[in-house]
């Protein structure tokens, strides 16, 4: 069983040569490689090693290492030797790169007669200096080569760590987070915010270090050449640069924050439009949405233009300072040469170094932009990683032993928002092997009760237990592995239908798969498909009918062999034909299993051993169908309505 490349999990991870092709096959028919690139890509992929199947384990609670504050530094220090190596290479590049003007000065002074005097016209000195120059260039180039390799690896590893870390945290976050946060915003954290760091880590940080160090090296050389001139340079230029830089830092931080918010909104809007495209089309809202998108993108553009303004002042501004510096140096240095306190060669070297002093500043500005953007992204990521899951695993949580399936709600009170209770003081015991149906009007809290059993949420007061274990005392994995859930909306992943059914148990054999398919009555549907179980599901299975999707979700739960089954309106989208089929299957599935059924149809509810009528967050009646009808309460009322309606349905059309 292999997931398609787009999914990347399970046995398909061994990818190898087929990997790139399969990513194209998994859903994007037009993700093909441009023809002229094909051979190059093939050659590259052929050199790709086989990957080991990742053996990562998922822990509900972040371990100590992961709890450390997320920062660039903490990410980098995981690879101390690479950092040290990168640091050494940075030093070599910064020093070896700045020898040139000094060699030029020497050649001018002692080879070309820069210092007047006999024997100072010596071509041998010039040749020696030129050779030395070339040697230092070679050293710099070699160091650069290794530096690119080292920082490239460092960046790739750190990004990988970051992706896994943030994703793992996303998996830990409770349902409440995903309900409140826009999917597009979460997406942009995992994609553009992380990708933003790529440039910074790959060469941004090392460039920052090189340029900063270059400035230090040049300052030292300037002082070594002529203290007075160097002092004047530093006094005149450095303060102006510092002021400009502080202003720039503040202004651009503000700007990039706005930019990041802007792009998150753009992506969120795009994502929502794509997911709701059917509704958009049905309501002719395309034109309006285009206008809306223009406005959102327009805000993003405005934010970008603000940063453009800041950059346009700072970049050419510092360059202008450089020219003014040259003018000053010409005035002062020229006078010094005239008074023979400075050699012509030294003055020329000064000009060369001054130029090199400003060049790093220009580059620093560029790199600092990357740094700012990266830092803004790190801040957003940190906020995400610091979001505490509402439902957490106790540190001393134990594995829930194989359960009998006795579920007990003990004085359970719950509200999604603390001031609005959805469940109030619910007491109910579901005996092992018993099927209890929750019925009641929409919004009464039926689904919420089910979500408390799966521990998507924790009760505000009271407790939910299984076989006497408080759910908060056991590990989530051991709990959920013994639960089977069919949620309201059948969600299909990219991959084949078989992969989707085997979602909870990727190791299931073909025989087991087939059994699940047959038992839920999906066999006809599968047999009608060209590739059977290997038929690829495109974009959440929108080409399948909702009934078919629901059947797949049922087969998925079936295959998981849970002790406790939670069916949340699971059969509501099925036509009666399929429903009859799976109801027989459910009878077998429910055998010896504890089940909670959220039923909207009394016909479903009636199949249960007991029925709990939920209204306004309370259970107002519990009992089997006969008892409840005999009691003449709320259930009897509902039942009466339903009977008369069904009767009416079979007669009315005339």
């Amino acid at each position: 069983m292999t997931w398609g490349g787009g999914f990347g999990g399970g046995g398909g991870l061994g990818g190898g040569p087929g990997a790139v092709g399969s990513s194209a096959a998994a859903g994007l028919p037009f993700a093909g490689i441009p023809a002229e690139l094909q051979s190059g890509v093939d050659r590259l992929v052929a050199s790709e090693p086989e990957y080991e199947t990742p053996t990562l384990t998922f822990e509900q609670n972040a371990n100590e290492n992961e709890l450390k504050r997320l920062s660039l530094w903490s990410l980098l220090t995981k690879y101390p030797w690479m950092l040290v190596l990168a640091g050494l290479l940075v030093v070599v590049i910064s020093v070896a790169g700045q020898v040139g003007p000094k060699l030029t000065e020497y050649a001018i002074n002692y080879g070309m007669g820069g210092i007047p005097g006999p024997g100072h016209l010596d071509f041998g000195v010039v040749v020696a200096m030129a050779i030395a120059y070339v040697v230092f260039i070679a050293v710099t180039a070699t160091a650069q080569r290794f530096s690119v390799q080292v920082t490239g690896r460092l960046a790739a590893w750190v990004m990988n760590d970051l992706r896994v870390k943030v994703f793992a945290h996303l998996q830990r976050l409770s349902l409440g987070f995903f309900t409140e946060e826009k999917a597009g915003v979460v997406m942009s954290r995992m994609t553009s915010d992380i990708e933003n760091l790529q440039q910074l880590l790959q060469d941004g940080l090392s460039q920052l270090a090189i340029q900063a160090l270059t400035m230090v090296v040049i300052t030292i050389i300037l002082f070594a050449t002529n203290v007075l001139l160097a002092f004047i340079t530093v006094v005149l230029i450095v303060p102006a640069l510092v002021v400009a830089s502080i202003w720039f830092k503040r202004a651009s931080e503000r700007g990039y924050d706005k930019v990041r918010d802007g792009i998150a909104n753009v992506l969120a809007d795009l994502s929502e439009s794509l997911h709701g495209v059917r509704i958009v089309t049905a309501h002719n809202r395309q034109r309006n949405n285009v206008i809306h998108h223009r406005n959102v993108v327009g805000d993003y553009r405005d934010a970008n233009n603000y940063t453009a303004h800041v950059n346009a002042i700072y970049g050419p501004g510092t360059q202008m300072l450089g020219f003014l510096g040259q003018a000053i140096m010409l005035a002062i240095g020229g006078t010094m040469v005239a008074h023979h306190t400075l050699s012509v060669g030294a003055l020329i070297a000064f000009f060369l170094y001054l130029n090199r002093f400003f060049q790093p500043i220009q580059l620093l500005v560029q790199q600092y932009n990357t740094y700012q953007q990266g830092q803004a992204s790190v801040n957003k990521l940190r906020a995400l990683v610091d979001t505490e899951p509402e439902v957490t695993e106790a540190t001393d949580a134990t594995d829930l032993p194989p359960i009998e399936g006795r579920i007990a709600f003990e004085h359970v009170t719950f509200g999604y928002l603390s001031d609005r209770l959805v469940i109030e003081d619910v007491d109910l015991v579901v005996e092992p092997g018993e099927t209890v149906a929750f019925v009641g009007p929409t919004g009464a809290g039926k689904s919420t009760l089910a979500k408390l059993v799966t521990r998507f949420y924790d009760p505000t007061e009271g407790r939910v237990t299984i076989d006497g274990h408080d759910l908060r005392d056991v590990t989530m994995r051991s709990l959920r592995r013994q639960l089977g859930v069919v949620p309201q909306e059948p969600f299909l992943f990219a991959g084949t239908i078989g992969d989707n059914i085997a979602f909870a148990r990727p190791d299931a054999s073909d025989g087991e798969l087939r059994e699940a398919v047959e038992r839920v009555g999906l066999a006809d549907v599968i047999d009608r498909m060209p590739a059977g179980l290997d038929t690829v599901v495109h974009e959440r299975g929108q080409t399948l009918s909702s009934g078919e999707r629901q059947l797949i979700a049922l087969a998925r739960a079936f295959l998981a062999h849970p002790r406790v089954l939670v069916l949340d309106e699971a059969t509501s989208n099925l036509d009666l034909q399929s429903e009859t089929k799976i109801e027989t299957a459910l009878d077998v599935l429910l055998e010896n299993r504890t089940a909670i059924l959220i039923a909207h149809r009394l016909s479903t509810a009636m199949r249960a051993d007991r029925i709990a009528v939920v209204d306004e967050g309370r259970i107002i009646e519990v009992g089997n169908h006969d008892e409840l009808v005999a009691r003449g309460g709320r259930y009897a009322e509902m039942y009466e309505t339903w009977v008369s309606q069904s009767d009416a349905a079979s007669h009315t059309p005339a």
Partner: protein, 649 residues
């Protein structure tokens, strides 16, 4: 049947008809002034040219000022050299003369630099704005068949990273070219000083270019692989965000984490490959110009010693080569950016070159005053290109104005397809779908969809207020109209109980509401538009029976005088219909009232097994119960018998 009024569509692009298109938002920003060149045979840059041309004003200003700025920069080293020879060595000109010139030119270059850079960035962001909107607008035109096969994670990745790399290249490439033109000027200046030394100084530049070309060739595939793998990672994240309930329910976090780690590993390999290739080329590209400096020192030194060159000129040459180093380094970057941009552009064009399959005909007309006469004539339809998997084959159905028809059939029988064809979400393969006697393909999409309101089985809500969600199809509607629609769909009561009532913002896709609540909002959303033809595609499946009944009262009123197609499984929903058609084997196999079908078609009874069986026990209902007996001996039947015995004495 009354002849419907048709209005010829005003000429112009298909977007021109606005009567049926709701606009809720005031446009604060302009439309992108140009699109890409549709000619696919052109190079990617040529195809993007119209977009650049639209911003030629500020762009040209920016480039011109950069150019003049560069000339100023080129002249400063010359002044320095002159100052050294004329003021410091020979004392023929006062030093202050050169100092003030340099100050003046420096200030001017700052002003030029500011304007040039601001305009350049503005052009870049304008182009990004254009590209984003062009893609978005194109996506809104795409047909359902496109969205069926494309993953939205892929689209989002294209709309994000790819746009950026194209936009970067399109704006920074010309700037770098302008800076390279400085190389030409500087070279000319160097030639005037000394022809041989100029040639020596520039000797390594062709090598720089050649290395760049090599680099570009070998790095192209790797950047493609990286982009593709970034999209794979995005897809996994997208699925986990949207399918979080399933992942959590089955405790599949670890499995998902591993699948992400697997995708991230492959991406990591791509980045390392990328680093290794850059390591091979970047040092060459960056250091070859430096070798020029050493050569200048060697040959310049020889010339100075022999008196054919002033010492100051060594400085000039050095400064020029340093000035040239940046553009040549950027030339290397430009080459890298170029290959990324070309790969990205191809991926963007792939989207833009996808033609919508369902579009307005050139002579399409607006349908106004629709009476609601719906007719399917010999319709063949398949979702796939190959016609083997027909969903509907020779499907015939006529629904006269005002009638309510229930479409019943097994899962996968093609019921929803009927609805999708009527709203022209897809086009038929053969035959035709007609509204008021007009082939739907002859009508404008906007007018068709304004007249045919459909409530889909998936009640997607937008993250906006309940009010805005209900008024989605008619944003101009006031609160009273919205409330009336909500009342008709039975949504008013629970909405009033929400924290902020109609102003409550529903979370991502409305998951803060239950399935039934979302469905009721979705129904209200369609009712508000008040379409002459209404299609309910499994629209009440998640609503409990009790509530459904109260909705039915409202719906009955709404269906009055409206052609309605109901796709349903529930008997209670079917009861709303005047007529029932049974779908099987891709076509209508039975057509009549519920009672007629029960009496004549065993399959219908089978499909309705459960409900019909229930009826079987009703002593008063004589002849119609036959169909239901088929499943009377199932355990469920037995159970229901017991239920009945207890429930209705």
């Amino acid at each position: 049947m009354r002849t419907p009024t048709l209005r010829p569509r005003p000429s112009g692009p298909p977007e021109a008809s606005t009567a049926f298109v709701p606009i809720a938002e005031e446009a604060r920003n302009e439309a992108p002034p140009a699109g890409i060149d549709p000619d696919k045979s052109l190079s990617w840059l040529r195809r993007a040219l119209p977009i650049m041309r639209a911003h030629k004003g500020i762009f040209a200003t920016s480039l011109t000022l950069s150019f003049f700025g560069l000339i100023l920069q080129v002249s400063i080293p010359l002044l320095l050299s002159k100052a050294i020879s004329n003021s410091i060595e020979k004392h023929t000109v006062p030093l202050s003369y050169y100092v003030w010139w340099i100050v003046g030119l420096g200030l001017l270059s700052g002003v030029f630099g500011y304007i040039a850079r601001l305009f350049l960035f503005e052009t870049a962001y304008d182009i990004e704005y254009d590209l984003r909107n062009i893609i978005y607008e194109h996506l809104t035109k795409m047909s359902f068949s496109f969205y069926d096969r494309v993953q939205s994670g892929q689209l989002i990745s294209r709309a994000n990273s790819d746009i950026r790399s194209v936009q970067m290249y399109m704006t920074f490439a010309p700037l770098i070219l302008v800076q390279c033109s400085m190389a030409v000027i500087a070279f000319c200046v160097m030639l005037t000083i000394s022809v041989p030394l100029a040639l020596v100084a520039m000797a390594t530049m062709p090598l720089v270019y050649w290395t760049g070309v090599r680099m570009r060739k070998s790095m192209f595939p790797v950047s493609w692989i990286i982009q593709a793998r970034l999209a794979d990672v995005a897809t996994i994240v997208d699925e986990n965000v949207n399918g979080v309930r399933v992942v959590k329910s089955f405790a599949a976090e670890e499995q998902q984490l591993r699948s992400l780690a697997g995708a991230a590993d492959k991406l990591q390999w791509g980045y390392i490959k990328d680093a290794d290739l850059r390591a091979r080329f970047t040092p060459l590209v960056q250091n070859l110009p430096q070798v020029g400096l050493a050569l200048v020192l060697l040959f310049g030194g020889y010339m100075v010693i022999h008196g054919t060159l002033g010492v100051g000129n060594i400085l000039t040459f050095n400064l020029y080569l340093l000035m040239l180093q940046a553009p040549f380094m950027m030339l290397g970057m430009l080459i890298m950016m170029g290959q990324r941009a070309a790969a990205s552009a191809e991926r963007i064009y792939e989207i833009l070159d996808e033609e919508p399959t369902v579009t307005d005909a050139l002579d399409a007309v607006d349908l106004v005053d629709c009476t609601g006469d719906v007719r399917f004539r010999h319709v063949d339809f398949a979702y796939n290109e190959d016609a083997e998997q027909l969903v509907l084959a020779d499907f015939d159905l006529h629904v006269p104005p005002g009638q309510t028809v229930a479409i019943v059939g097994r899962t996968g029988a093609g019921k929803s397809t009927v609805a999708r064809l009527l709203t022209r979400f897809y086009d038929v393969k053969h035959g035709s779908v007609e509204l008021d006697g007009h082939d739907v393909r002859d009508l404008t999409l906007a007018s068709l969809r304004a007249n045919v309101g459909v409530v889909l089985d998936e009640p997607f809500l937008f993250s906006a207020s309940v009010h805005d969600n209900i008024a989605y199809g008619k944003p101009s509607a006031g609160r009273d109209e919205v409330e009336a629609a909500a009342k008709a769909s039975g949504a008013h009561e629970f909405i009033s109980h929400l924290a902020d009532g109609y102003d409550t913002v529903v979370g991502e896709r409305g998951y803060t509401l239950s399935g039934g609540q979302r469905q009721r909002i979705a129904i209200a959303r369609t009712l508000l538009v008040n379409p002459p033809v209404l299609v309910l595609d499994d629209a009440t499946s998640a609503i409990d029976v009790q509530v459904e009944q109260t909705i039915h009262a409202g719906l009955k009123v709404q269906m009055e005088g409206r052609t309605t197609l109901i796709i349903a499984h529930r008997l209670s929903t079917i009861s709303l219909a005047d007529r029932v058609v049974l779908l099987d084997q891709h076509k209508v196999v039975a057509d009549g009232t519920h009672a007629e079908l029960l009496a004549t078609t065993p399959l219908y009874a089978e499909v309705l097994a459960q409900a019909a069986e229930f009826e079987a026990a009703d002593e008063d209902d004589g002849p119609e119960d036959d169909g239901g007996r088929a499943s009377g001996d199932t355990p469920l039947g037995a159970m229901l018998d017991a239920v009945r015995a207890g429930g209705r004495p």
